[in-house]
C-alpha cells in the first residue's frame, strides 16, 4: 500500500529571494521518484488543509535524500519556509507522470522559467547526450551549478539583466540558434506556450510540465485540469494535471486565449 510519509528535514536554505531549498531524508520517495514528478507537502496549520504540489528537484537514491526547491507564493509555502532542520513534514509521493526519456535522442534542450527550473535538474541527471539548458529568471538565477554538474551547458536570461542575457528566456534561446531532438519545458504558461510554438515551427517534439491549482494530487478531485487534444481523439478533453500529467506533449495542449 502507498502511504503518507513524515520525513525529517535535514537541511533548509534560502537560495534566492523568496526561494528555498529543502532536503528531506525520505528513502521511499527518493528511491522511486522519476524526473518531472512531484510530491504533496502538507501544512501543519489546521486552517490550510490542502496539500501543496511541489516538483522534485533532485533525488539521491543511495542516501535516500529528496531535494525540493520551492518559491514562497502564499501562506502555505511561507509556513514551509519557517521549518527548520530536524523538523518533520507530511509528504505524499512521488506523484504524477513526468518527463519521458528517449535514449536515442542525442541533443536535449531544457527550457526553464523561474520556479519551473528545479525539475530540470533531476531530468538533466537522467539524460544522456548533449544538454543545453536555457533558464529565465526575474532576478537571481538558481540551480545553474547543479545543472552544469550534470553536464548541461547553461544559458541564463534575467528580466533586469543582472545576470546573463537581459530579456526573456525564449529570446535568448532563439538568439543562440541551437537545435536538438527533444525540448523539455517547465515554467510559466506564456513561456510554455512560446516553447510549444517554437517546437512546432521547428518540427521538434516538446514535453511541457503544466501547473494548475490542485486539491488531492492523486487524480480524484478533478480540480486541476487542462485542455488536451490527443491526435487519436476527435475533441479536446479536460485532463488532470496531477495524474495525466504534469508533463504533456506541447502539441496536445489547447491554450485558453
Amino acid at each position: 500500500m502507498k502511504k503518507l510519509y513524515y520525513p525529517i528535514i535535514i537541511e533548509q536554505n534560502q537560495i534566492a529571494r523568496g526561494t528555498f531549498s529543502m532536503k528531506l531524508q525520505c528513502n521511499e520517495i527518493a528511491e522511486t521518484a522519476l524526473p518531472g514528478q512531484f510530491v504533496n507537502l502538507y501544512c501543519r496549520e489546521g486552517e490550510m488543509l490542502l496539500p501543496r504540489p511541489i516538483s522534485i528537484c533532485e533525488t539521491d537514491r543511495e542516501k535516500g535524500i529528496l531535494t525540493l526547491v520551492y518559491a514562497v507564493v502564499g501562506k502555505g509555502t511561507e509556513s514551509f519556509s519557517r521549518l527548520k532542520k530536524g523538523d518533520t513534514i507530511k509528504v505524499l509521493g512521488p506523484l504524477g507522470d513526468g518527463f519521458k526519456i528517449d535514449e536515442s535522442i542525442k541533443t536535449h534542450i531544457l527550457i526553464g522559467g523561474g520556479i519551473g527550473v528545479p525539475p530540470l535538474v533531476e531530468l538533466a541527471k537522467h539524460l544522456k547526450g548533449e544538454i543545453y539548458a536555457f533558464l529565465g529568471f526575474a532576478e537571481s538565477p538558481i540551480l545553474v551549478e547543479e545543472l552544469e554538474s550534470y553536464g548541461a551547458k547553461v544559458f541564463v536570461a534575467t528580466d533586469d539583466g543582472s545576470a546573463g542575457f537581459k530579456g526573456n528566456v525564449i529570446e535568448l534561446f532563439k538568439n543562440k540558434n541551437i537545435t536538438g531532438g527533444m525540448i523539455y519545458g517547465c515554467g510559466p504558461k506564456p513561456m510554455l506556450k512560446a516553447v510549444g510554438k517554437w517546437a512546432e515551427d521547428m518540427g521538434i517534439k516538446a514535453q511541457i510540465s503544466m501547473e494548475e491549482r490542485m486539491a488531492c494530487g492523486i487524480g480524484v478531485c478533478v480540480g486541476c485540469v487542462c485542455k488536451i487534444k490527443k491526435k487519436e481523439e476527435e475533441d479536446w478533453q479536460n485532463r488532470k494535471v496531477c495524474t495525466d500529467g504534469p508533463v504533456f506533449w506541447s502539441e496536445e495542449v489547447i491554450w485558453d486565449e
Binding site: 502511504k3 488543509l49 490542502l50 488531492c216 487524480g219 486541476c224 485540469v225 479536460n238 485558453d256
Partner: protein, 304 residues
C-alpha cells in the same frame, strides 16, 4: 469488552459500518485503493454520473479557504456507460456497498441515468439535486420545493434501487425541502452538499475560480451541516447520511448525535488518503470509551 456493532441499515441496505465516501471526493475508489482497503468501508458513493460525458468547467477549479476549500469542477465525468464499463466492474471486486450519485440537466436526463443503472449491480442511487456548479439542473432542482418533489418522484419511479436524495444547504428552510423529497418518495436523505461561496485574489483583483463562484466544503462548514442534520432528522422518518467537514471519528459522532445514521467523509480524503479508515477507527474508539453497543444508540442519545 465486546466490539461494538458498527452495522447500519439504510433503506433496507445493510452497511457493515456507517462510513461512506462523499461523492466527488473519492472518484470511483480506484485511486484510494492504493492507500486503503476498500473492503473496510461501509459504502462508496462514486463521483456524479451523467447520461453522456460532461467536460466540466474551466480551470482554475480549486481555491483553498480558511478551514475549507471551494471547488467549481462542474461534474466532469465520462458518462454512465463508461462508469458501468470501467468503474463499476472495478468496484464489484470489493465487499462494500456501491452508491451511485446521479446528475443531469433535466428530469429526463436524471431518469435516463437511473434507468441505465436499474439492471446493474449497484446498491443505491444518490440523486444529486444540489451541485452549485452547473448552470442547468443540479441545485436549481434542490432549492425549489415543487421541483425537488417532482424530480424525486420521477427518478423513484425509474430507479430499481433505493433512492437517497442529496440536499443543498443553499436554501432558507432545509426542513421543507427534506419533507418535499420524502413526499416524492426518497428512501433516505444525504446532506449537506457544498455551500455556495466565492474567493477573490486581492493582488490580481480577479475571482480565483474561473467559474467565479463554487461550492465550499471542509470543516469550515461543519456547524452548518450539523444544524441542518439535526433539523431534518427531527422532521422526517427516513434515514440520514450526514456530511460536511468530517475530518475525524469525533466529527462523525457529532453527526450521529445530531441524528445521522450514516456519515460521509469528503474533503478529508484530500488532506489524508486514509481519512475514511481513521474516521471509522475513531467512531469505534468513541463507542468503546462511552459504552455504546451500536450506532442507533448514539443516534438516540443527544441530550437537550
Amino acid at each position: 469488552m465486546n466490539k461494538p456493532d458498527m452495522q447500519i441499515n439504510i433503506a433496507g441496505v445493510e452497511l457493515k459500518n456507517p462510513v461512506i465516501t462523499a461523492s466527488g471526493t473519492f472518484g470511483s475508489g480506484k485511486e484510494y485503493s492504493e492507500y486503503i482497503d476498500l473492503n473496510k468501508l461501509g459504502a462508496i458513493t462514486v463521483k456524479g454520473v451523467s447520461d453522456i460525458p460532461w467536460k466540466g468547467n474551466d480551470s482554475p477549479r480549486i481555491a483553498e479557504t480558511y478551514g475549507g476549500m471551494l471547488n467549481s469542477v462542474g461534474l466532469q465525468n465520462p458518462g454512465v456507460e463508461a462508469f458501468i464499463e470501467e468503474d463499476l466492474s472495478f468496484l464489484k471486486r470489493y465487499d462494500t456497498k456501491i452508491i451511485v450519485n446521479i446528475v443531469g440537466r433535466t428530469v429526463e436526463e436524471y431518469c435516463r441515468v437511473a434507468e441505465r443503472l436499474s439492471d446493474t449491480d449497484i446498491d443505491m442511487i444518490e440523486l444529486n439535486i444540489s451541485c452549485p456548479n452547473v448552470k442547468e439542473g443540479g441545485v436549481s432542482f434542490g432549492t425549489d420545493l415543487l421541483m425537488a418533489e417532482r424530480i424525486t418522484e420521477a427518478v423513484k419511479k425509474t430507479a430499481k434501487q433505493p433512492l437517497i436524495v442529496k440536499l443543498s444547504p443553499n436554501v432558507t428552510d432545509i426542513v421543507s425541502i427534506a419533507k418535499a423529497v420524502v413526499a416524492g418518495g426518497a428512501d433516505a436523505i444525504s446532506l449537506i452538499n457544498t455551500l455556495l461561496g466565492m474567493a477573490i485574489d486581492i493582488n490580481t483583483r480577479k475571482p480565483i475560480l474561473a467559474n467565479i463562484v463554487g461550492g465550499l466544503s471542509g470543516p469550515a462548514i461543519r456547524p452548518v451541516a450539523i444544524r441542518m442534520v439535526y433539523e431534518v432528522a427531527k422532521a422526517v422518518d427516513v434515514p440520514i447520511i450526514g456530511m460536511g467537514g468530517i475530518m475525524t471519528g469525533e466529527d462523525a459522532v457529532e453527526f450521529m448525535l445530531a441524528g445521522a445514521t450514516g456519515v460521509a467523509v469528503g474533503m478529508a480524503n484530500f488532506t489524508n488518503p486514509t481519512a475514511t479508515i481513521d474516521v471509522l477507527n475513531g467512531i469505534e474508539d468513541y463507542m468503546i470509551r462511552h459504552g455504546f453497543n451500536n450506532i442507533e444508540e448514539i443516534r438516540k442519545s443527544l441530550i437537550l
